[in-house]
Subunit: 239 residues, 2 copies
Protein backbone atom coordinates (compact mmCIF):
# COMPACT_ATOMS: atom_id res chain seq x y z
CA UNK A 1 0.00 0.00 0.00
CA UNK A 2 2.53 2.57 1.10
CA UNK A 3 5.43 1.24 -0.91
CA UNK A 4 5.54 4.35 -2.99
CA UNK A 5 7.84 7.31 -2.86
CA UNK A 6 9.55 9.57 -5.27
CA UNK A 7 11.42 12.73 -5.93
CA UNK A 8 9.76 15.82 -7.31
CA UNK A 9 11.08 19.29 -7.91
CA UNK A 10 9.70 21.59 -5.31
CA UNK A 11 10.12 25.26 -4.66
CA UNK A 12 9.23 24.76 -1.01
CA UNK A 13 12.28 22.85 0.06
CA UNK A 14 15.68 21.73 -1.14
CA UNK A 15 17.20 18.33 -0.71
CA UNK A 16 20.35 16.73 -2.07
CA UNK A 17 21.92 13.35 -1.40
CA UNK A 18 25.70 13.17 -1.81
CA UNK A 19 27.93 10.10 -1.85
CA UNK A 20 31.51 9.30 -0.87
CA UNK A 21 32.74 6.61 -3.26
CA UNK A 22 35.63 5.72 -0.98
CA UNK A 23 33.82 5.05 2.31
CA UNK A 24 30.31 4.53 0.87
CA UNK A 25 28.98 7.35 3.06
CA UNK A 26 25.92 9.44 2.26
CA UNK A 27 25.84 13.12 3.15
CA UNK A 28 22.57 15.06 3.03
CA UNK A 29 21.95 18.72 2.32
CA UNK A 30 18.57 20.08 3.45
CA UNK A 31 17.48 23.69 3.03
CA UNK A 32 14.65 26.17 3.07
CA UNK A 33 14.81 28.06 -0.26
CA UNK A 34 13.04 31.08 1.22
CA UNK A 35 15.46 31.83 4.04
CA UNK A 36 18.35 29.91 2.38
CA UNK A 37 19.09 28.31 5.74
CA UNK A 38 20.58 24.83 5.40
CA UNK A 39 21.93 21.88 7.36
CA UNK A 40 24.37 19.19 6.24
CA UNK A 41 24.08 15.73 7.79
CA UNK A 42 27.19 13.51 8.05
CA UNK A 43 29.71 15.40 5.91
CA UNK A 44 32.99 13.60 5.12
CA UNK A 45 36.23 15.52 5.73
CA UNK A 46 37.76 14.74 2.32
CA UNK A 47 34.66 16.07 0.53
CA UNK A 48 34.13 19.34 2.37
CA UNK A 49 35.38 21.19 -0.71
CA UNK A 50 32.68 19.58 -2.89
CA UNK A 51 30.00 20.25 -0.29
CA UNK A 52 30.91 23.89 0.31
CA UNK A 53 31.08 24.47 -3.43
CA UNK A 54 27.55 23.10 -3.84
CA UNK A 55 26.29 25.18 -0.91
CA UNK A 56 27.79 28.25 -2.60
CA UNK A 57 26.35 27.35 -6.03
CA UNK A 58 22.91 27.10 -4.45
CA UNK A 59 23.29 30.35 -2.52
CA UNK A 60 22.66 28.68 0.84
CA UNK A 61 23.63 29.66 4.37
CA UNK A 62 24.80 26.58 6.29
CA UNK A 63 23.69 26.73 9.94
CA UNK A 64 24.74 23.30 11.16
CA UNK A 65 27.03 20.39 10.35
CA UNK A 66 25.20 17.50 11.98
CA UNK A 67 26.62 14.08 12.90
CA UNK A 68 24.40 11.04 13.35
CA UNK A 69 27.08 9.48 15.56
CA UNK A 70 30.82 9.06 16.18
CA UNK A 71 31.69 7.29 12.93
CA UNK A 72 34.26 4.53 12.91
CA UNK A 73 34.70 4.36 9.14
CA UNK A 74 35.37 7.92 8.05
CA UNK A 75 36.31 11.27 9.55
CA UNK A 76 33.54 13.86 9.94
CA UNK A 77 33.71 17.09 7.95
CA UNK A 78 31.97 19.22 10.57
CA UNK A 79 35.17 20.74 11.97
CA UNK A 80 36.47 21.59 8.50
CA UNK A 81 33.08 23.10 7.57
CA UNK A 82 33.23 25.36 10.62
CA UNK A 83 36.62 26.65 9.45
CA UNK A 84 35.29 27.53 6.01
CA UNK A 85 31.79 28.75 6.86
CA UNK A 86 31.72 31.38 9.61
CA UNK A 87 28.84 30.86 12.01
CA UNK A 88 28.32 27.20 11.09
CA UNK A 89 27.97 25.07 14.23
CA UNK A 90 28.71 21.37 14.74
CA UNK A 91 26.12 19.08 16.30
CA UNK A 92 26.36 15.59 17.82
CA UNK A 93 24.56 13.68 20.55
CA UNK A 94 27.52 11.87 22.14
CA UNK A 95 28.43 13.98 25.23
CA UNK A 96 32.09 12.90 25.27
CA UNK A 97 32.65 14.11 21.68
CA UNK A 98 33.58 17.73 21.08
CA UNK A 99 30.92 19.82 19.30
CA UNK A 100 29.24 23.22 19.52
CA UNK A 101 25.86 21.73 20.35
CA UNK A 102 25.08 18.42 22.06
CA UNK A 103 21.54 17.33 21.26
CA UNK A 104 19.38 14.84 23.15
CA UNK A 105 16.30 12.76 22.41
CA UNK A 106 13.37 15.05 21.69
CA UNK A 107 15.42 18.11 20.77
CA UNK A 108 14.49 20.08 17.66
CA UNK A 109 16.94 21.51 15.10
CA UNK A 110 15.48 24.44 13.13
CA UNK A 111 16.47 25.74 9.69
CA UNK A 112 14.20 28.31 8.05
CA UNK A 113 10.59 27.16 8.28
CA UNK A 114 11.69 23.55 8.82
CA UNK A 115 12.78 21.44 11.73
CA UNK A 116 14.34 18.07 12.46
CA UNK A 117 13.31 15.99 15.45
CA UNK A 118 16.22 14.21 17.19
CA UNK A 119 15.45 10.63 18.15
CA UNK A 120 17.94 8.62 20.20
CA UNK A 121 18.54 5.32 18.38
CA UNK A 122 21.42 3.68 20.28
CA UNK A 123 22.69 0.15 19.64
CA UNK A 124 25.37 0.68 16.99
CA UNK A 125 26.90 3.33 19.30
CA UNK A 126 25.41 4.87 22.45
CA UNK A 127 25.04 8.29 20.86
CA UNK A 128 23.43 7.27 17.55
CA UNK A 129 20.68 9.69 16.60
CA UNK A 130 18.03 9.54 13.88
CA UNK A 131 16.92 12.93 12.56
CA UNK A 132 13.28 13.01 11.45
CA UNK A 133 12.01 15.60 8.95
CA UNK A 134 8.30 15.12 9.62
CA UNK A 135 7.21 17.79 7.13
CA UNK A 136 8.80 15.86 4.28
CA UNK A 137 8.26 12.31 5.50
CA UNK A 138 11.96 11.66 5.68
CA UNK A 139 14.27 10.24 8.35
CA UNK A 140 18.06 10.16 8.38
CA UNK A 141 18.90 6.99 10.21
CA UNK A 142 22.70 7.06 10.39
CA UNK A 143 23.97 3.51 10.95
CA UNK A 144 20.99 2.41 13.05
CA UNK A 145 19.05 1.27 10.00
CA UNK A 146 20.69 0.61 6.63
CA UNK A 147 18.86 -0.44 3.44
CA UNK A 148 18.10 -4.15 4.03
CA UNK A 149 20.64 -4.06 6.86
CA UNK A 150 21.80 -2.25 9.99
CA UNK A 151 24.95 -1.01 11.67
CA UNK A 152 27.23 -3.56 13.34
CA UNK A 153 26.93 -4.02 17.09
CA UNK A 154 30.27 -5.61 17.92
CA UNK A 155 32.28 -2.54 18.98
CA UNK A 156 31.84 1.07 20.16
CA UNK A 157 29.23 0.24 22.85
CA UNK A 158 27.32 -1.86 20.34
CA UNK A 159 24.38 -3.90 21.65
CA UNK A 160 22.06 -5.89 19.40
CA UNK A 161 19.10 -5.81 21.79
CA UNK A 162 19.37 -2.03 22.16
CA UNK A 163 19.63 -1.57 18.39
CA UNK A 164 16.59 -3.76 17.75
CA UNK A 165 14.52 -1.74 20.22
CA UNK A 166 15.74 1.56 18.77
CA UNK A 167 14.91 0.66 15.20
CA UNK A 168 11.50 -0.78 15.98
CA UNK A 169 10.59 1.85 18.57
CA UNK A 170 11.89 4.99 16.85
CA UNK A 171 12.24 4.31 13.10
CA UNK A 172 9.95 1.53 11.87
CA UNK A 173 7.19 3.04 14.02
CA UNK A 174 7.08 6.03 11.66
CA UNK A 175 4.35 6.02 8.97
CA UNK A 176 4.96 3.36 6.31
CA UNK A 177 5.53 5.84 3.51
CA UNK A 178 8.42 7.59 5.29
CA UNK A 179 11.60 7.68 3.23
CA UNK A 180 14.59 6.36 5.16
CA UNK A 181 18.02 7.70 4.23
CA UNK A 182 20.97 5.79 5.72
CA UNK A 183 24.53 6.93 6.44
CA UNK A 184 25.90 4.22 4.17
CA UNK A 185 25.04 1.84 1.40
CA UNK A 186 27.43 -0.63 -0.16
CA UNK A 187 25.14 -1.85 -2.98
CA UNK A 188 24.36 1.39 -4.84
CA UNK A 189 20.91 1.85 -3.32
CA UNK A 190 20.01 5.36 -2.23
CA UNK A 191 16.83 5.23 -0.18
CA UNK A 192 14.24 2.90 1.31
CA UNK A 193 10.88 3.19 3.10
CA UNK A 194 9.46 2.08 6.44
CA UNK A 195 7.10 -0.32 4.64
CA UNK A 196 9.95 -1.96 2.75
CA UNK A 197 12.25 -2.43 5.74
CA UNK A 198 9.46 -3.78 7.93
CA UNK A 199 8.94 -6.64 5.52
CA UNK A 200 12.17 -6.96 3.51
CA UNK A 201 14.96 -6.26 5.99
CA UNK A 202 16.59 -9.68 6.42
CA UNK A 203 17.71 -8.88 9.97
CA UNK A 204 15.20 -6.49 11.48
CA UNK A 205 12.05 -8.18 10.15
CA UNK A 206 12.97 -11.14 12.43
CA UNK A 207 12.13 -11.39 16.14
CA UNK A 208 14.57 -10.12 18.76
CA UNK A 209 16.23 -13.46 19.50
CA UNK A 210 16.73 -14.26 15.85
CA UNK A 211 18.13 -10.76 15.31
CA UNK A 212 20.63 -11.16 18.16
CA UNK A 213 21.79 -14.50 16.73
CA UNK A 214 22.17 -13.04 13.23
CA UNK A 215 24.28 -10.19 14.62
CA UNK A 216 26.39 -12.55 16.78
CA UNK A 217 27.11 -14.71 13.74
CA UNK A 218 28.29 -11.87 11.45
CA UNK A 219 31.95 -12.06 12.49
CA UNK A 220 32.88 -8.88 10.64
CA UNK A 221 36.47 -7.79 10.05
CA UNK A 222 37.82 -4.99 12.23
CA UNK A 223 37.01 -1.69 10.45
CA UNK A 224 39.93 -0.42 8.40
CA UNK A 225 39.89 3.23 9.45
CA UNK A 226 38.75 2.95 13.04
CA UNK A 227 42.14 3.86 14.55
CA UNK A 228 42.15 7.08 12.58
CA UNK A 229 38.43 7.82 12.60
CA UNK A 230 37.46 7.42 16.25
CA UNK A 231 39.92 9.86 17.85
CA UNK A 232 39.41 12.32 14.99
CA UNK A 233 35.64 12.20 15.31
CA UNK A 234 35.80 12.92 19.03
CA UNK A 235 37.07 16.40 18.05
CA UNK A 236 34.96 17.19 14.93
CA UNK A 237 37.63 15.75 12.64
CA UNK A 238 40.09 18.58 13.27
CA UNK A 239 43.08 18.17 15.60
Amino acid sequence: LYRTYGAVPNKEFMFRQLFDNRTYTYTYLLADPDTKEAVLIDPVIELVERDTSLIKDLGLKLLYGINTHVHADHVTGTGELKKRIPGCKSIISEPTAKADIHISHGDIIKFGKYQLECRATPGHTNGCTTYVWHDKNMAFTGDALLIRGCGRTDFQQGCSKTLYESVHGQILSLPENFLLYPAHDYTGQTVTTVAEEKTQNPRLSKDLNQFIKIMDDLKLPYPKEIERALPANMVCGVF
Copy 2:
Protein backbone atom coordinates in the same frame (compact mmCIF):
# COMPACT_ATOMS: atom_id res chain seq x y z
CA LEU B 1 14.43 31.54 -8.29
CA TYR B 2 14.00 28.01 -9.52
CA ARG B 3 17.04 26.55 -7.79
CA THR B 4 14.90 24.39 -5.63
CA TYR B 5 14.13 20.71 -5.84
CA GLY B 6 13.63 17.85 -3.54
CA ALA B 7 12.42 14.35 -2.89
CA VAL B 8 9.09 13.65 -1.27
CA PRO B 9 7.28 10.42 -0.58
CA ASN B 10 4.38 10.09 -2.93
CA LYS B 11 1.76 7.45 -3.43
CA GLU B 12 1.24 8.59 -7.00
CA PHE B 13 4.54 7.51 -8.44
CA MET B 14 7.64 5.56 -7.59
CA PHE B 15 11.19 6.57 -8.30
CA ARG B 16 14.53 5.10 -7.28
CA GLN B 17 18.06 6.04 -8.24
CA LEU B 18 20.62 3.22 -8.18
CA PHE B 19 24.39 3.44 -8.47
CA ASP B 20 27.17 1.22 -9.80
CA ASN B 21 30.23 1.86 -7.63
CA ARG B 22 32.53 0.30 -10.22
CA THR B 23 31.62 2.26 -13.35
CA TYR B 24 29.95 5.24 -11.63
CA THR B 25 26.74 4.58 -13.57
CA TYR B 26 23.27 5.59 -12.42
CA THR B 27 20.29 3.36 -13.14
CA TYR B 28 16.74 4.66 -12.63
CA LEU B 29 13.60 2.77 -11.71
CA LEU B 30 10.32 4.58 -12.48
CA ALA B 31 6.88 3.12 -11.81
CA ASP B 32 3.19 3.74 -11.49
CA PRO B 33 2.13 2.26 -8.12
CA ASP B 34 -1.47 1.80 -9.31
CA THR B 35 -0.77 -0.44 -12.30
CA LYS B 36 2.67 -1.53 -10.97
CA GLU B 37 4.07 -0.94 -14.46
CA ALA B 38 7.74 0.10 -14.39
CA VAL B 39 10.68 1.00 -16.59
CA LEU B 40 14.39 0.77 -15.81
CA ILE B 41 16.75 3.26 -17.47
CA ASP B 42 20.40 2.27 -18.09
CA PRO B 43 20.71 -0.97 -16.12
CA VAL B 44 24.24 -2.39 -15.71
CA ILE B 45 24.74 -6.09 -16.53
CA GLU B 46 26.61 -6.93 -13.31
CA LEU B 47 23.80 -5.43 -11.18
CA VAL B 48 20.77 -7.03 -12.81
CA GLU B 49 20.39 -9.30 -9.79
CA ARG B 50 20.16 -6.28 -7.45
CA ASP B 51 17.72 -4.53 -9.76
CA THR B 52 15.41 -7.52 -10.30
CA SER B 53 15.41 -8.17 -6.56
CA LEU B 54 14.29 -4.58 -5.89
CA ILE B 55 11.63 -4.81 -8.62
CA LYS B 56 10.34 -7.98 -6.94
CA ASP B 57 10.44 -6.44 -3.43
CA LEU B 58 8.33 -3.56 -4.69
CA GLY B 59 5.88 -5.82 -6.51
CA LEU B 60 6.48 -4.15 -9.88
CA LYS B 61 6.02 -5.37 -13.44
CA LEU B 62 8.95 -4.24 -15.59
CA LEU B 63 7.81 -3.31 -19.10
CA TYR B 64 11.01 -1.90 -20.56
CA GLY B 65 14.75 -1.87 -20.09
CA ILE B 66 15.71 1.45 -21.66
CA ASN B 67 19.16 2.56 -22.86
CA THR B 68 20.07 6.22 -23.23
CA HIS B 69 22.77 5.22 -25.75
CA VAL B 70 25.39 2.63 -26.71
CA HIS B 71 27.58 2.95 -23.63
CA ALA B 72 31.35 2.71 -23.95
CA ASP B 73 32.08 2.31 -20.25
CA HIS B 74 29.85 -0.51 -19.09
CA VAL B 75 27.72 -3.29 -20.52
CA THR B 76 23.95 -2.77 -20.53
CA GLY B 77 21.74 -5.05 -18.44
CA THR B 78 18.77 -4.93 -20.81
CA GLY B 79 19.47 -8.33 -22.42
CA GLU B 80 19.93 -10.01 -19.04
CA LEU B 81 16.72 -8.37 -17.75
CA LYS B 82 14.80 -9.81 -20.71
CA LYS B 83 16.04 -13.29 -19.79
CA ARG B 84 14.83 -12.94 -16.21
CA ILE B 85 11.61 -10.99 -16.67
CA PRO B 86 9.28 -12.48 -19.30
CA GLY B 87 7.66 -9.82 -21.45
CA CYS B 88 10.25 -7.15 -20.65
CA LYS B 89 11.39 -5.39 -23.83
CA SER B 90 14.66 -3.60 -24.57
CA ILE B 91 14.68 -0.07 -25.97
CA ILE B 92 17.37 2.02 -27.66
CA SER B 93 17.47 4.72 -30.31
CA GLU B 94 20.60 3.65 -32.23
CA PRO B 95 19.27 1.74 -35.29
CA THR B 96 22.40 -0.41 -35.72
CA ALA B 97 22.15 -1.76 -32.14
CA LYS B 98 19.97 -4.79 -31.47
CA ALA B 99 16.83 -4.13 -29.38
CA ASP B 100 13.13 -4.97 -29.29
CA ILE B 101 12.09 -1.38 -29.88
CA HIS B 102 14.02 1.40 -31.63
CA ILE B 103 12.71 4.77 -30.59
CA SER B 104 13.10 8.11 -32.38
CA HIS B 105 12.84 11.77 -31.46
CA GLY B 106 9.28 12.56 -30.38
CA ASP B 107 8.30 8.99 -29.51
CA ILE B 108 6.47 8.33 -26.24
CA ILE B 109 7.14 5.42 -23.86
CA LYS B 110 4.14 4.61 -21.65
CA PHE B 111 4.07 2.88 -18.25
CA GLY B 112 0.79 2.93 -16.32
CA LYS B 113 -0.60 6.45 -16.27
CA TYR B 114 2.82 7.92 -17.04
CA GLN B 115 4.89 8.53 -20.13
CA LEU B 116 8.40 9.50 -21.15
CA GLU B 117 9.10 11.75 -24.11
CA CYS B 118 12.12 10.69 -26.20
CA ARG B 119 14.33 13.60 -27.23
CA ALA B 120 17.27 13.04 -29.57
CA THR B 121 20.35 14.59 -27.94
CA PRO B 122 23.26 13.47 -30.17
CA GLY B 123 26.83 14.70 -29.81
CA HIS B 124 28.35 12.18 -27.39
CA THR B 125 27.06 9.43 -29.71
CA ASN B 126 24.65 9.72 -32.65
CA GLY B 127 21.93 7.78 -30.88
CA CYS B 128 22.00 9.54 -27.51
CA THR B 129 18.49 10.09 -26.19
CA THR B 130 17.18 12.11 -23.26
CA TYR B 131 13.98 10.78 -21.69
CA VAL B 132 11.73 13.48 -20.26
CA TRP B 133 9.17 12.71 -17.55
CA HIS B 134 7.13 15.90 -17.90
CA ASP B 135 4.62 14.94 -15.21
CA LYS B 136 7.35 14.82 -12.60
CA ASN B 137 9.64 17.56 -13.91
CA MET B 138 12.47 15.11 -14.46
CA ALA B 139 14.77 14.34 -17.40
CA PHE B 140 17.21 11.46 -17.74
CA THR B 141 20.03 12.89 -19.78
CA GLY B 142 22.34 9.92 -20.30
CA ASP B 143 25.83 11.21 -21.13
CA ALA B 144 24.63 14.30 -22.99
CA LEU B 145 24.57 16.40 -19.84
CA LEU B 146 26.40 15.41 -16.66
CA ILE B 147 26.36 17.34 -13.36
CA ARG B 148 28.70 20.29 -14.02
CA GLY B 149 29.97 18.40 -17.08
CA CYS B 150 29.00 16.49 -20.22
CA GLY B 151 29.85 13.34 -22.14
CA ARG B 152 33.12 13.27 -24.10
CA THR B 153 32.95 13.95 -27.82
CA ASP B 154 36.21 12.41 -29.03
CA PHE B 155 35.00 8.97 -30.15
CA GLN B 156 31.82 7.09 -31.11
CA GLN B 157 30.59 9.75 -33.59
CA GLY B 158 31.23 12.42 -31.01
CA CYS B 159 30.84 16.04 -32.11
CA SER B 160 31.14 19.00 -29.75
CA LYS B 161 29.00 21.33 -31.88
CA THR B 162 26.21 18.75 -32.11
CA LEU B 163 26.35 18.09 -28.35
CA TYR B 164 26.20 21.79 -27.54
CA GLU B 165 23.13 22.23 -29.73
CA SER B 166 21.46 19.13 -28.25
CA VAL B 167 21.96 20.20 -24.66
CA HIS B 168 20.85 23.78 -25.20
CA GLY B 169 18.01 22.93 -27.57
CA GLN B 170 16.56 19.86 -25.84
CA ILE B 171 17.65 19.86 -22.17
CA LEU B 172 18.48 23.34 -20.86
CA SER B 173 15.38 24.62 -22.69
CA LEU B 174 13.22 22.70 -20.21
CA PRO B 175 11.76 24.71 -17.29
CA GLU B 176 14.42 25.81 -14.83
CA ASN B 177 13.13 23.69 -11.97
CA PHE B 178 13.43 20.41 -13.93
CA LEU B 179 15.53 17.80 -12.15
CA LEU B 180 18.26 16.41 -14.39
CA TYR B 181 19.46 12.88 -13.71
CA PRO B 182 22.66 11.87 -15.55
CA ALA B 183 23.95 8.42 -16.54
CA HIS B 184 27.12 8.97 -14.52
CA ASP B 185 28.67 11.03 -11.80
CA TYR B 186 32.21 10.69 -10.55
CA THR B 187 31.98 13.09 -7.60
CA GLY B 188 29.17 11.58 -5.55
CA GLN B 189 26.51 14.02 -6.73
CA THR B 190 23.12 12.54 -7.57
CA VAL B 191 21.03 15.17 -9.35
CA THR B 192 21.06 18.71 -10.69
CA THR B 193 18.58 21.19 -12.16
CA VAL B 194 18.23 23.14 -15.40
CA ALA B 195 18.77 26.40 -13.49
CA GLU B 196 21.99 25.15 -11.94
CA GLU B 197 23.53 23.81 -15.13
CA LYS B 198 22.62 26.92 -17.12
CA THR B 199 24.71 29.03 -14.79
CA GLN B 200 27.18 26.65 -13.10
CA ASN B 201 28.16 24.14 -15.80
CA PRO B 202 31.80 25.07 -16.51
CA ARG B 203 31.56 23.85 -20.12
CA LEU B 204 28.00 24.34 -21.28
CA SER B 205 27.45 27.77 -19.75
CA LYS B 206 30.10 29.04 -22.21
CA ASP B 207 29.42 30.02 -25.85
CA LEU B 208 29.74 27.44 -28.64
CA ASN B 209 33.30 28.32 -29.66
CA GLN B 210 34.57 28.28 -26.10
CA PHE B 211 32.79 24.96 -25.54
CA ILE B 212 34.43 23.40 -28.63
CA LYS B 213 37.84 24.56 -27.44
CA ILE B 214 37.27 23.18 -23.93
CA MET B 215 36.27 19.81 -25.39
CA ASP B 216 39.23 19.78 -27.81
CA ASP B 217 41.61 20.45 -24.94
CA LEU B 218 40.36 17.65 -22.67
CA LYS B 219 42.73 14.97 -24.03
CA LEU B 220 41.01 12.17 -22.12
CA PRO B 221 42.47 8.68 -21.81
CA TYR B 222 40.97 5.95 -23.99
CA PRO B 223 38.07 4.41 -22.00
CA LYS B 224 39.12 1.27 -20.17
CA GLU B 225 36.20 -0.96 -21.06
CA ILE B 226 35.36 0.26 -24.55
CA GLU B 227 36.66 -2.88 -26.33
CA ARG B 228 34.34 -5.02 -24.22
CA ALA B 229 31.44 -2.60 -23.87
CA LEU B 230 30.81 -1.45 -27.44
CA PRO B 231 30.33 -4.82 -29.14
CA ALA B 232 28.35 -6.12 -26.16
CA ASN B 233 26.06 -3.11 -26.14
CA MET B 234 25.27 -3.54 -29.83
CA VAL B 235 23.46 -6.75 -28.82
CA CYS B 236 21.80 -5.75 -25.50
CA GLY B 237 24.79 -7.01 -23.52
CA VAL B 238 24.09 -10.66 -24.27
CA PHE B 239 26.04 -12.61 -26.88
